[in-house]
């Protein structure tokens, strides 16, 4: 196995958040679980490409937002997660 690169504190936080989402998804119903996992992984992979590694301000903002969303997801009353696209109306 190739030696893993040393992860920075910020990277560990992001991975910890991702892990938190997957663990929360495990507690939900099976169909919803796969949907939650797909939404979360798409979001994280999109941000890996889109966000500059040095843009700490934005990454921390995304982490705070993600933590709040995770708290909401963890609640027993939440049963599913869904997203919708807010598009620009063509003038």
């Amino acid at each position: 196995m190739a030696s893993r690169p040393k992860l920075s504190g910020l990277q560990k936080q992001v991975l910890g958040l991702y892990r938190g989402f997957l663990r929360a998804a495990r507690l939900k119903a099976p169909e919803e679980r796969s949907q939650i996992e797909s939404i979360v992984s798409v979001e994280f992979r999109k941000n890996v490409e889109a966000v500059d590694r040095k843009n700490f301000l934005y990454i921390e903002y995304l982490l705070r937002r993600g933590k709040k969303q995770l708290e909401q997801l963890k609640s027993v009353d939440t049963i599913k997660l869904s997203t919708l696209e807010v598009g620009q109306k063509p003038q």
């Binding site: 301000l57 934005y58 903002y61």
Partner: protein, 287 residues
């Protein structure tokens, strides 16, 4: 039809402006009576006729958009003070309406009672709806509450502040039922007077965000606002959990991070003194 008599006063341009419109009338109906009346048909007419200097004020406002994340900037806006209300909130709303609709800020009551529009204006925390626009010629700097996470432009994340308020348990707690069941718990006027200076707090966070001790320890130090409310419930004669409340706050970080810096009393837009209430709690801890 009443004859219009125009009084020429100190060569004012206003009267000169009016004169052409009324000149025929005055020449026709020249008064023999001694009484002269000042008549102005429309007051705005005189304003537009006079050369009124345009009072403009520049505002440098903190901008940061999470959807297009670059470094936060101070963006300059210039507005005409003659067409704007006296308060900073009026200026912000005017900028949002006429110049830049993307400017984001919280506001609700516009009269200093809701605490939504708390922000840092020219270095001092305060409510935008209660802070007059300074008449100095330099630019006015408006930034969000210091040392708070920014969600967008002037909107900050208040969840930590509110959870600290919640941790104080700001509700009446009793061990035994009220003396007359189904009725209010009675309180003398003197006991009610003890709560003055604490119940008026609107949770705007101006005090807590002005405290350097709160800047360095926001998660552990409760901050002046939460401690003011803690004292409000400690002082309440109807509450029976006074000892438990004092023990809950009696922590090196929760209470004793206060080093009587007194920024909170300076910042409070309602004129309250959180530092004094914290001192009261500290004194009670000694007993």
């Amino acid at each position: 039809m009443a004859t219009a008599r125009v009084l020429l006063r100190r060569g004012s341009s206003a009267a000169r402006g009016l004169l052409p419109a009324y000149a025929p009338r005055t020449t026709v109906a020249s008064p023999t009576a001694a009484r002269l009346l000042l008549v102005q048909a429309h007051s705005s007419q005189s304003d537009s006729a006079a050369a009124k200097p345009k009072r403009s004020k520049t505002f440098a406002i903190y901008r940061w958009n999470p959807d297009h994340p670059e470094k936060p900037q101070l963006q300059q806006y210039e507005i005409d003070l003659g067409e704007c209300g006296p308060m900073v909130l009026d200026a912000l709303i005017k900028i949002k309406n006429e110049i830049d609709p993307s400017l984001t800020f919280r506001r609700s009551c516009r009269e200093g009672i809701c605490g939504s529009c708390a922000m840092n204006i020219d270095g001092d925390n305060g409510l935008a709806c209660l802070t007059k626009i300074s008449s100095s010629s330099g630019a006015s700097t408006i930034t969000p509450l210091p040392h708070m996470y920014v969600i967008k432009d002037l909107v900050v994340d208040m969840t930590n502040f509110y959870s600290q308020y919640k941790s104080v348990e700001p509700w009446l707690k009793r061990k035994d039922p009220p003396s007359s069941p189904g009725k209010e718990i009675l309180q003398s006027k003197k006991d009610r007077a003890k709560l003055d200076g604490m119940y008026e707090c609107i949770l705007c966070a101006c005090c807590s965000t002005s405290c350097p001790s709160y800047w360095w320890n926001p998660e552990t130090y409760l901050g002046p606002a939460a401690l003011l409310h803690a004292n409000r419930w400690i002082q309440d004669s109807r509450d029976q959990y006074t000892k438990e409340r004092l023990d809950a706050v009696n922590d090196e970080f929760k209470l004793y991070r206060c080093h009587t810096i007194m920024n909170c009393a300076h910042a409070c837009p309602k004129g309250l003194n959180p530092a004094k209430q914290i001192e009261t709690i500290k004194k009670l801890q000694l007993q």
